[in-house]
């Protein structure tokens, strides 16, 4: 009887064995391979890399397989692995102006050097279930163009020439690292951006959406969205120069936002910035909107009390690994706390009843 509440080792082992069986599903169906996940569920892999803060498509694919497709669980696996890795150093900043773009669009200019390149996008697809995919249909090869040789300039630089967009201060200062130092509020923009780029896509999306609906609206246009690969370089002190250590795929979004000007600044455009691992454009655009909303103080704007303007609120709640852990912990036993509440409620009720009785007797 009483012994039944004791879980113990055996229960845990059995639960894990059952879960492993469920993960595999019916043995009559062929097992998923990691290359299949990496190649055919690429956007899931990208999300796991972005929010797991680790660029490794193969490990992300493994995490997705192990997590049975639960992406937050997969992100957790990657984070827990990432934290055990030794840190050899920091890369040089990547130069997104040198990006080999697969996709590059601007909503603010009809055309610009480098052109509008739609690239592999869901945009303009009709969201009709494609029943051909249910069968193993071969996909015809997409037509190929001639790759652009020269660099694709950032759209924003064309506004810069006229001084119409606010300059971002240049600095060589090393940014902080939110995985190595506890966050302290108020924080700095580099740390805000770090937090947003690994923040939960759904949370950042919801925050961004709230700004569009009027909770600290900031009139954003997508100045430019680009997706492609950039080289990562590292300075090697022993060599005295930097070497390329690999390529990563990134999505970068710069928004152009209205700014009426302040006492010290003339009217000009301002920007929000989003940069995310892989092809993750919903996340990059959302990140840029939230970044812009969080800059209200620096730009001398009013605090409208909107959630997206509240740095401590946004950054304290954007991490889905922290959030899901704490949320799910309430299924752990709490009998001790509950018992203390139970006793308290009983005591308060008893006292209230006694009071009512004595009142009744007096009347």
């Amino acid at each position: 009887m009483y012994v039944a509440v004791k879980g113990g080792e055996k229960a845990i082992e059995n639960a894990h064995a059952w879960m492993a069986e469920e993960r595999r599903g019916s043995p009559d169906v062929e097992e998923l391979s990691l290359p299949q996940i990496r190649e055919q569920l690429g956007l899931a892999v990208n999300r796991v890399m972005a929010e797991g803060s680790m660029y490794d498509p193969d490990l992300a694919a493994l995490a997705i397989k192990q997590a049975r497709g639960d992406l937050i669980e997969a992100i957790f696996l990657i984070r827990a692995y990432r934290t055990t890795l030794p840190r050899f150093g920091c890369s040089c900043p990547v130069n997104t102006a040198d990006m080999a773009c697969d996709r590059r669009i601007s909503a603010t200019f009809k055309d610009a050097p480098g052109g509008q390149v739609l690239g592999p996008t869901f945009d303009y697809t009709h969201r009709l279930l494609d029943f051909k995919l249910a069968a193993d249909g071969d996909v015809p090869l997409a037509p190929e163009g001639v790759p652009r040789q020269e660099a694709t300039p950032h759209i924003m630089q064309f506004l810069k020439g006229e001084d119409l967009i606010q300059d971002e201060p240049e600095t060589d200062a090393a940014p902080g690292d939110l995985t190595r130092e506890p966050m302290e509020f108020p924080t700095t923009r580099p740390l805000r951006l770090q937090s947003l780029t690994r923040g939960d896509e759904g949370f950042v999306l919801g925050m961004a959406y709230s700004t569009q609906r009027g909770y600290a609206r900031n009139h954003a246009f997508v100045g430019e969205l680009r997706i492609g690969t950039v080289a990562v370089e590292m300075d090697i002190p022993e060599l005295g120069f930097s070497i390329e250590i690999g390529d990563i795929e990134l999505t970068e979004c710069e928004t152009v936002n209205q700014f009426k000007g302040s006492k010290t600044e003339p009217p000009q455009f301002t920007r929000g910035y989003g940069l995310v691992f892989g092809q993750s454009e919903r996340k990059a655009i959302a990140m840029a909107l939230v970044d812009r909303a969080l800059r209200w103080k620096e730009l001398g704007e009013d605090d409208q009390g909107a959630p997206a303007q509240d740095e401590e609120f946004v950054l304290s709640h954007s991490d889905n690994i922290q959030a899901t852990g704490f949320l799910e912990h309430i299924k752990l036993p709490h009998y001790v706390d509950f018992q203390s509440e139970l006793e308290l409620i009983r005591k308060l009720r008893r006292e209230a009843q006694d009071l009512a009785k004595s009142k009744g007797a007096a009347e």
């Binding site: 879980g7 704490f326 036993p333 706390d337």
Partner: protein, 286 residues
């Protein structure tokens, strides 16, 4: 042993945690920020306690883990196994034999000794959090020793309910300076916070470590006319007959019959093996 560093964490992380523990001991009750690492278990499931334990354990230690006072609750089992695997240390369920005890929500009934260390898992380390959600504000309040809001809250309870309606995680003042959350232990355990052992508190998700050295003065907040009261169910343990231990209430059947048993399983077991028998003791032993 295995491919992990001793007690899982890398040495640099342990040093960072160790430095935070020393500062925590030097300023009892003050929450030291630390760069909590992602652990291979979820935030909210003891990552703070696990990181503190990993930073203090030595191979000679004998480790005990309890959750809700019990050694065999699932999360306690899981954490104990984690350290058996990554630190190769000996474990025990006997409070008296343990050199380090990691706990969630309870302080053992047996008085802890000078040579023992207790590590608490803490979900929300900030005692003022539910009065003021902003870290920027609560930090200021601690720095100014501005705890009026907490007293107002407790007093509002009294005016509304005729009693302080905080039953666990009952705030305490440490050595006359910092107001501290003792973690969600029942207020029955608050008097035990003045003890001979070293007490360390780890909050992983919230990235805070704090500490209480042995023999530190701990006062549960109260009022002259409404003094603090360490309460428990008004029963004795139905298995061992103890009248002085914190009790879990267990529903036994569809008719709603209850039994009350010690939440501290080691305390209950050692009393029973010493011959103490409660109301339902024999029946259950059968």
């Amino acid at each position: 042993m295995n491919e992990y560093n001793f007690a899982y964490l890398d040495e640099q992380t342990k040093r960072m945690i160790r430095r935070a523990i020393l500062k925590g001991l030097a300023v009892p009750g003050y929450q030291v920020p630390f760069a909590s690492r992602e652990m291979p278990m979820p935030y909210g499931w003891g990552t703070g306690g696990v990181q503190v334990s990993a930073a203090i354990l030595t191979p000679e230690d004998r480790f005990k883990v309890i959750d809700q006072g019990a050694d065999d609750t699932t999360n306690a089992v899981s954490i104990r196994k984690f350290f058996e695997k990554t630190a190769g240390i000996a474990t025990t369920e006997k409070t008296a034999r343990a050199s380090v005890i990691q706990t969630r929500h309870r302080i053992p009934e047996a008085r802890l000794r000078e040579d023992q260390i207790i590590v608490y898992q803490v979900p929300i380390p900030e005692p003022l959090r539910f009065l003021e959600p902003r870290e920027t504000e609560t930090r200021k309040m601690h720095s100014l020793e501005e705890y009026g809001m907490m007293h107002v809250k407790l007093y509002e309870d009294i005016s509304q309910h005729g009693a302080i309606s905080t039953a666990y995680a009952y705030p305490v003042k440490v050595s006359g300076r910092y107001v501290m959350d003792p973690s969600p232990i029942p207020k029955f355990d608050n008097p035990k916070l003045e003890m001979d052992a070293i007490q360390l508190f780890g909050a992983g998700r919230e990235q805070r470590i704090y500490a209480v050295p042995p023999h530190t003065r701990i006062v549960s907040l109260d009022f002259e006319d409404y003094t603090f009261e360490a309460t428990k169910a008004e029963h004795s343990c139905d298995l061992c007959g103890a009248g002085d231990s914190y009790l879990d209430e267990v529903i036994m059947d569809d008719a709603g019959n209850r039994m009350f048993v010690c939440s501290d399983t080691d305390y209950c077991r050692s009393r029973r093996s010493a011959g103490h028998v409660g109301r339902l003791g024999e029946e259950s032993a059968a």
